[in-house]
Symmetry: C2
Subunit: 352 residues, 2 copies
DNA sequence: TTGAAAGCGCTACCAT
DNA sequence: ATGGTAGCGCTTTCAA
C-alpha cells in the first residue's frame, strides 16, 4: 500500500517462465494469430497468464508490429452535442473493431488543429478522423494537408467529416443542399422575410449553410438582406449574442430566424425570450444538425437532420474501406460518402 | 499516390544519420531533458529532423521509458451531456499537462466496465478516471477493485468521479446532500406532494439522489409515496417513459416532479407536454446536474448544479496529486475532493 | 510445433 | 559533451 511500491507489471517473459515455455511460444499462445501451438502448452501459458494477471503491453506490441490499434478523433469541442454525438458513433464502431479511440480538441483553431495533428501522428494511429475542421482559407491549410498526406504515406488513413476535403476520404455533409431545402420548406410554410444567425465567416460550414439558405430563398425570388445577417461564435453564447444584436438593429419585418446550428439556435431562442418575443409565435426559428435535445425544447425546433452517430460510424468505416482499396465515388483512391440530410419540421415554424 | 506505397516513417536513426551524429545525441537534442548537447550538433539535428519530417514514435518512447503520456477516461455514454462536459474538463487539464486522453464507453454495464478496464490497462495509462461507475452492488465489483488495485500497484493512478470509491481517490459528488437541499428548497417554495423519476435501482447515483430527496422531505415531515416513484433507464427516453407511467398511474395530487438527472427531466417534460400538462404551470419540475442546455429550455429547469467541467479537471489533478504523495482527507494515501453543489432555482418551479 | 535470436524505435547508462 | 550499447516488452523470422 505504500505510495511508491510500484511493483513492475507482469511481462510476457514472466508468463513464459512460469509456464516453462519459450517467449515465442507464450507470445503465440496469447496474442498470436495462427493456432500453431500445442494445446498442452497453450493451456499452460494461458493459465499462467491468468494466474499472474498478465496484461499485454499494447505499446510494446505496437512497436514490435509496427501497427497500432488506435483511432484518433479530432473535434472542435467535445462538450458540444454535435461532436459528442459523432464521437459516440466513432467509439461504437471502433470498439466493435477492437480499436481504441483517442480524442483531441482543437477549439476551431487552425493553428491548434495543425499542432494537434502533429502531436497525434506521434501516436501512429491507424486512422485519423477530423470533424469540424475547415480545410479552406486558413494560412495553415497547406501545412495541414502536407501533414496529413505524410501521415497517409506512412500507412495511416484519414477521414474528414465535412464538406469537401479532397484528396482525403470524406463523409460528405451537404450543408449547402440541406440549408437550401430548409429555406424552400420554410417558404412553403409561408415565411417571407428572414434573418440569419451565422458563425464566423472563416467557418466553411457556416458559410455553406448560409449560402445554401440564400440559394433556397432565391429559388423563390426572395432575398436575404445583409443587415439581417449576424456573424458570431459558433456556440450557444454566440447564438444568443447574434440574436440580441439583430434584435437591437431591428427585426420588425422578419418572420423567421435561421441559426446555422442547433446550438446557436438554442442560444438565439433564449435571446428572443429575454427580449420578450416568443419563438414560434412571434417569430419562426430554425436550426441545423438535429442534435438530440432540440426535440425536447419548447417549441421543438425545426431543423435539418444529420444522422450524427451514423456519420461517426461511417467515417471510421470509410477510412478502413479506403485502406482496403475499395473506392467510392472519388477517383484516385480517395473516396466519399454522402450522407442523407433531411428537413425536420417541428413546432418552432408553424404554418403562416 | 498508390494505396500500398507505405513509405516507412522517418525514425530517429534516419535523423541521426542525416545529421551525422550518433543516435544518442539525436535523442538528446530532440527529446532529451537536460541540455547537454553542443548547440552546433543540436541545431544540425533539429534541422535534419525538420527537413525529414521526423515525428517521434510515442509508443517506442513509452516502452523505452516505461511510462506513457496517456490518460484513460471511462464514461457511461459520451453523447450524454453530463459525461461529455466532464470529458471536456478532463481533456483541458490533460492537454495543459501534455497528456493525451483516451475515452472508452462502458454503457453503465458492469461487465463491460470491467472488460474495458482490463483492455485499457494494456495501454499502461498514467491515470484512469472512472466517471459514472457504480462501485456498489454489482457482482463484478470485487473484480473491478482487484483490477484497479493491480493497476495502482504497477504505478498507475485511478480517480473516481462518484459518491465514494475508497480506497481510490475520488472527486466526491454529494448526491444525497444535493438532493436533500433541493427537496428542502422546493418545500420552501410551497410544494407539498412529490413524484420522482428515478433510474434503475442498481445505479447508486440514482439511489443516493432519491434517498437524499426523501431525507429533505422528511425533514419537513413530508413523505414520498411509493407509487409516486418510477424506475427506468438513466436516459432521456427513460425519463419520458417513467413520466408517462406515472401519469398513467395518476398524478393528480402531485405538484412537483423530480427527475434524478437533467437528461431524464427533459424527457419527462416532453412526456408531460404530450399528455397535455404544462411543466412549471400545471406541475413543477426539477432535475439534477445542471447540464448546459437546461437554462435554455422552457421553462428553464430548476436543478442542482454540479460544476461538471471543473469536476473533470479536478479528477485529473487529484490523480496526480495523489501520485505526488500529497494526500487529502483520506487516510492511507487515498484522497478525496468534495465538490460544491448548489441548488439553482429556475422557472420550472415557480413559487406556489 | 517449438525455441533462439534478431529486430521494432527509442532511452539511458557507461565509457571515452 | 559525445558515442557505443544494452535494454524496454513484444513479434517474427529462421533453424532445429
Amino acid at each position: 500500500m505504500e505510495s511508491g511500491a510500484n511493483k513492475p507489471a507482469v511481462t510476457l517473459n514472466d508468463v513464459a517462465l512460469a509456464a516453462g515455455v519459450s517467449l515465442a511460444t507464450a507470445s503465440r499462445s496469447l496474442n498470436g494469430s495462427a493456432r500453431k501451438v500445442n494445446d498442452t502448452y497453450r493451456l499452460r501459458v494461458v493459465d499462467a497468464a491468468q494466474r499472474l494477471g498478465y496484461i499485454p503491453n499494447l505499446f510494446a506490441q505496437a512497436v514490435a508490429k509496427g501497427a497500432t490499434t488506435t483511432v484518433a478523433l479530432l473535434v472542435a469541442d467535445i462538450s458540444d452535442p454535435y461532436f459528442s454525438t459523432i464521437a459516440s458513433g466513432v467509439i461504437q464502431a471502433a470498439e466493435s473493431a477492437g480499436l481504441v479511440v483517442t480524442i483531441a480538441v482543437t477549439g476551431r483553431n487552425p493553428e491548434r488543429e495543425l499542432a494537434t495533428v502533429r502531436a497525434l501522428r506521434g501516436q501512429r494511429p491507424r486512422v485519423m478522423i477530423l470533424a469540424g475542421s475547415r480545410m479552406a482559407g486558413s494560412p495553415q491549410e497547406a501545412d495541414l494537408r502536407k501533414e496529413l498526406s505524410a501521415f497517409e504515406e506512412n500507412g495511416g488513413r484519414v477521414a474528414f467529416i465535412s464538406q469537401n476535403a479532397a484528396p482525403f476520404a470524406t463523409v460528405l455533409l451537404d450543408n449547402r443542399g440541406g440549408a437550401r431545402a430548409l429555406a424552400e420548406s420554410l417558404v412553403e410554410l409561408g415565411y417571407r422575410c428572414f434573418a440569419v444567425v451565422a458563425g464566423p465567416p472563416t467557418i466553411v460550414t457556416s458559410q455553406d449553410r448560409l449560402q445554401g439558405f440564400r440559394d433556397g430563398l432565391a429559388a423563390h425570388g426572395l432575398d436575404l438582406a445583409e443587415h439581417h445577417i449576424a456573424h458570431t461564435d459558433f456556440t450557444r453564447d454566440g447564438g444568443y449574442q447574434a440574436a440580441t444584436d439583430l434584435l437591437q438593429a431591428g427585426l420588425d419585418d422578419v418572420d423567421l430566424l435561421f441559426a446555422v446550428s442547433d446550438v446557436m439556435a438554442m442560444g438565439a431562442m433564449s435571446a428572443l425570450r429575454d427580449a420578450g418575443l416568443e419563438p414560434g409565435r412571434d417569430l419562426g426559428v430554425a436550426g441545423y444538425d438535429d442534435i438530440p435535445t432540440v426535440r425536447d425544447i419548447t417549441p421543438s425546433l425545426t431543423t435539418v437532420r444529420i444522422p450524427l452517430e451514423e456519420v461517426g460510424r461511417r467515417a471510421l468505416e470509410l477510412a478502413f474501406g479506403v485502406a482496403q482499396g475499395q473506392d467510392g465515388a472519388g477517383q484516385g483512391g480517395s473516396s466519399t460518402i454522402p450522407v442523407v440530410t433531411e428537413v425536420v419540421r417541428r413546432d418552432s415554424t408553424p404554418r403562416r
